[in-house]
Amino acid sequence: MNNNFVKGSWQEILDWAQNKSINMLHYCTGCGAIELPPTMTSRYDMSRFGIGPAATPRQADLLLVTGYLSTKTLRRLIYTYEQMQAPKFVVGFGSCTINGGMYWDSYNTIKQLDKYLPVEMYIAGCMPRPEAILDGLLKLKKMINNGEADGYKRYQDNLEFYHQNQEAVLGEVQRTQ
């Protein structure tokens, strides 16, 4: 049998399995976190899509960045992200992660999350409602199934780019990898 064929289809099976079961890290950076309890619980119930909360970074594969990121939080977020095991996905949530949002001229919040971590997709809004979150997460599932959610690979390939940007705003950053 063709080796590439085996590799390719095995990856497809992995991607398919991955998209059916997503563990979202319960880490809240900003005000957007308030939209997550209704999303997780019976009103909108995201567990019917196979998405559930996880307690620690090592048990999670989805990192939802819920809202503005001060530079101090960014440092913790980077430590958290680097603790997670691949495959791992980052979703920017709310306009603050896209362009700074209402904190666009604040001295201590970052303006573009994708400069510091590999973002799979953004959910726009201030705040996005649970419907928008579920819509976004369903698109993320599709992306995973199609093998398009490759942020963790981009992070490894462009490690220098990300590290440079991180150190430009944070100074020294401890590295776990």
Partner: protein, 165 residues
Amino acid sequence: MRNEKELLQLINAHFNPEAMEIQREQNLSVKLKKEELIQALSFLKSHSYRHLSTISCVDWLEEEEFELVYHLFSYDDLVNISLKTRIAREPGVFQTAKEIWPVAEFYERDIHEFFGVEFKGNDNLEEMILENWQHLPPMRKDFDTREFVNDQYEWRDYNGQKHTD
């Protein structure tokens, strides 16, 4: 239990306030010279004003002064007193109040971080909220936030269009 007028008389009898007013019910504002302030704090503490709610700072750039405001509260009188004093902006040095209220150490640390005011006697003025801050204290009026943000961060381009202020 003292009412607001009696309190003003009490303060007037012991100190030389520059200005005093009853801002509204249960709220007094008293301006003191900086030499008298620490004394006034311990005086009021011994007169049931045991609670230091916070210390705040105002940057009066044109007058080249910092205004420090000590917010006190009494559980007996149920009155808030704002004790205000002005210090020179340069060098911006004042006395610590941590011997009177240990919690003042943290408020002073906060003011030191965001305004650059030194508090003599408080030896724990290291960074509390910011990290690796190398610039002017960010709450000072001469700190140009927009300029700092333009230098530090990049704006997102939309459809190839650069962001302009």
